[in-house]
């Protein structure tokens, strides 16, 4: 299969007055043609920093960024100049942000903002760009697209604004779209609408998708493969079906149990004890050991490596669950 993105050993450090914040510590990512890859983790785990580093959107300084390989569609992005990056961003590598209200320009009509994509990347005339914009809005399921294109962002509802962002991201049929929490700010019924549209567009356009999210239920519906991040490191990597039917890392298991389901028993919530470690003072050994019920002396001393575990699976744990007779419950 054709590889769209190859990232090796990404490290991002932010120097602060309180010490070094090691946001990302050696992350590898592979995304292939037409697949949807999810990057899951809680706030502060480094998932957004990873996605911004891939887009080369992180300012350095303050961030200190190191990576061995960043290949996008066969090209080495680490060697690209900012001008070349601007050609790639939006056209071949697009991004959808979480909060549509703040990522759209409030004093420009949404039509003009989408027109910009065609005019900037294809050199289209005003009329030609607007025709394409109206078509794009129609595809994304916005009623009366011609009139809506003349609306300002504040005149649209939250779901509608998120759809405008989708239309913008898909405008130039990019090879890869990075969606950073695309539905977190939306209501349940609107979230379902936007996810369905996103999935339909992704399949229809043959785009690859990197879905950055904290929501495992979204992952279960959307992703083909999943990376689970904790405190700056990948702790588990697996195809989606295997991850949900047989999670290996205690953190993944805990996270899944902590999501309430409609079928659960009443008045009791399964919890993971403790809190996410501060990025300045990370624990010794395995970063998850203070919260892990299976932790041993070795976990306190030594950081486990990301070991292969069956086909296309990797786990960073000395005592993976659900392997060789051990139950994951």
């Amino acid at each position: 299969m054709e590889q769209v993105l190859k990232l090796r050993n990404l490290k991002v450090v932010f120097p602060t007055d309180y010490g070094l914040i090691r946001a990302v510590e050696g992350v590898d990512l592979d995304i292939y043609h037409r697949e949807c890859v999810a990057l899951v983790g809680e706030s502060g785990c480094g998932k957004s920093v990873t996605s911004q580093a891939v887009m080369r959107l992180l300012d350095s300084p303050p961030a200190l960024i190191r990576m061995d390989v960043l290949e996008f569609d066969g090209r080495d992005l680490t060697q690209c100049t900012e001008a070349e990056m601007q050609e790639i961003r939006g056209k071949e590598l697009a991004m959808i942000f979480q909060d549509a209200m703040t990522s759209l320009n409030p004093v420009m009509t949404v039509g003009n903002q989408i027109d910009e994509m065609y005019r900037r990347h294809y050199g289209d005339s005003k009329q030609a760009a607007r025709e394409k914009t109206v078509h794009a809005l129609e595809l994304i399921g916005i009623p009366e697209p011609k009139e809506r294109a003349n609306s300002f962002p504040h005149q649209l509802s939250g779901g509608m604004r998120q759809r405008v962002l989708l239309a913008m991201a898909f405008a130039c049929m990019p090879k890869l779209i990075i969606a950073d929490e695309p539905t977190t700010a939306l209501d349940v019924t609107i979230q379902a609408q936007v996810l369905k549209t996103l999935r339909g567009m992704q399949r229809g356009c043959g785009t690859s998708l990197l879905l950055v999210t904290h929501d495992l239920s979204v992952v279960a519906k959307m992703a083909d493969r999943v990376y689970v991040m904790y405190a700056g490191k990948i702790v588990e990597k697996a195809p989606v079906k295997e991850l949900f039917t047989n999670p290996h890392h205690p953190y993944t298991v805990g996270l899944m149990a902590a999501v309430p389901r409609l079928t659960d028993e009443k008045k009791k919530f399964t919890q993971i004890p403790g809190t996410v470690p501060s990025p300045v003072h990370k624990p010794s050994g395995c970063y998850f050991h203070p919260r892990c019920e299976y932790a041993t002396e070795r976990c306190r001393r030594e950081m486990p490596r990301l070991e292969p575990m069956g086909r296309d699976r990797q786990v960073r744990c000395f005592h993976p669950l659900g392997v060789g007779g051990k139950s994951s419950d």
Binding site: D187, V188, T189, A192, K266, I272
Partner: protein, 345 residues
């Protein structure tokens, strides 16, 4: 069981003014004609999407918002007819836990100041008693005496929410309104806070009104619940009955829209089309008709009554209750099709 909080035909309308302040352009009917009762010792869920009026309703319950019409009875006494001093005394027994622990705590107050503030307002001035009480409260919510002089910025989101809870229970309230207490928190912390709320409820004999848009949380937490849409109650009553047999199309859609975290091969996403319409000057009929997959012609103009269909299970829907016997438009029981449902037509 006795009702601790009773709402009788409560409406809250906010005027919308235009360029000239005395010209009323319309009104936002944030809550219209809501009647419900919260029983002592239960957890009462309030569910709905943003803008449906659940927070306004909660604010009305604790007396932060005065209803435009109707009565709010707390332990049988009409809250808004009380004289000012009496009102303040009653208010002590009802407290709130807010959604965002980052903006609801004063960043320049330390934990001791934050948690003791309600006592200071009540007129307590003995430092020693207050300190002992604050430590006791902190231990109840899973913090310790060491945290006494730290500031909100030193704590994580989950810990800040614990401070918010300590503050809310400091005056021994009987009635607590939790307004989306966990939606700003991480998944792994989420469960910790909900377990803490359940534990405190049992220990201190509290009654909760639990506001949430997360149906899975509501199902696990609540004994009874009410589903709101655009300021009106759609369905209310016993939680088990509603989840076992949701009768209103909106409740059904909400339950279907919950994405389960089980992996299934087909991975179907169930979609309820359309957006929530604006609450300014809503249409006279059922508020849900534009998005309702089962809407009939009569739903557009005839408001459905809120009736009890089985014991402790109320629904406002013509499909369940039938149309009333009065002048109905022609073809009122015919399903609406296609373009008829486009707003503004």
């Amino acid at each position: 069981m006795t009702e601790i909080m009773t709402l009788r035909n409560v409406s809250v309308h906010f005027p919308v003014r235009g360029f000239l302040p005395f010209l009323k352009k319309g009104e936002i009917q944030a809550v219209s004609d809501v009647s419900l009762g919260v029983r002592r010792g239960e957890i009462f869920g309030l569910v709905g999407e943003s803008g449906c009026g659940k927070t306004t309703l909660a604010n009305t319950m604790v007396g932060l918002v005065k209803p435009t019409a109707g009565q709010v009875l707390f332990e049988g006494v009409d809250l808004h007819s009380l004289p000012r001093e009496e009102f303040k005394k009653t208010r002590r027994r009802m407290q709130m836990i807010f959604q965002d622990p980052f903006s609801s705590l004063n960043p320049r107050f330390n934990v001791y100041q934050l948690v003791s503030e309600p006592m200071v307002i009540r007129g307590e001035d003995d430092e020693e008693t207050m300190k002992a009480r604050v430590v006791e409260l902190l231990e109840m919510v899973g913090l310790s005496a060491q945290d006494l002089y730290r500031y909100p910025s030193d704590f994580s989101g989950g810990q800040r929410q614990r401070i918010g809870i300590a503050r809310a229970i400091s005056l021994n309230p009987t009635f607590l309104v939790c307004d989306e207490p966990v939606s700003a928190l991480d998944v792994s912390i989420h469960a910790q806070i909900l377990n803490l709320l359940l534990e405190l409820q049992e220990r201190l004999n509290l009654t909760y009104v639990f506001i949430s848009h997360n149906l899975a949380d509501v199902k696990k937490m609540c004994d009874r619940l009410a589903v709101m849409y655009l300021g009106k109650l759609m369905e209310a009553g016993d939680a088990d009955k509603i989840f076992a047999r949701p009768l209103h199309p909106y409740t059904q859609a909400l339950i279907a829209a919950v994405l389960d975290i089980y992996f299934s091969e087909e991975r179907e996403i169930v979609v309820l089309p359309g957006d929530t319409p604006s609450p300014i000057n809503p249409p006279p009929g059922c508020r849900f008709w534009q998005r309702c997959p089962k809407a009939m012609r009569g739903c557009k103009t005839v408001p459905p009554a809120f009736l009890e269909v089985e014991e402790d299970h109320f629904v406002a829907c013509h499909l369940v209750n039938g149309f009333p016997n009065q002048d109905l438009p022609e073809g009122f029981d015919q399903p609406m099709v296609g373009r008829e449902k486009v707003p503004g037509r």
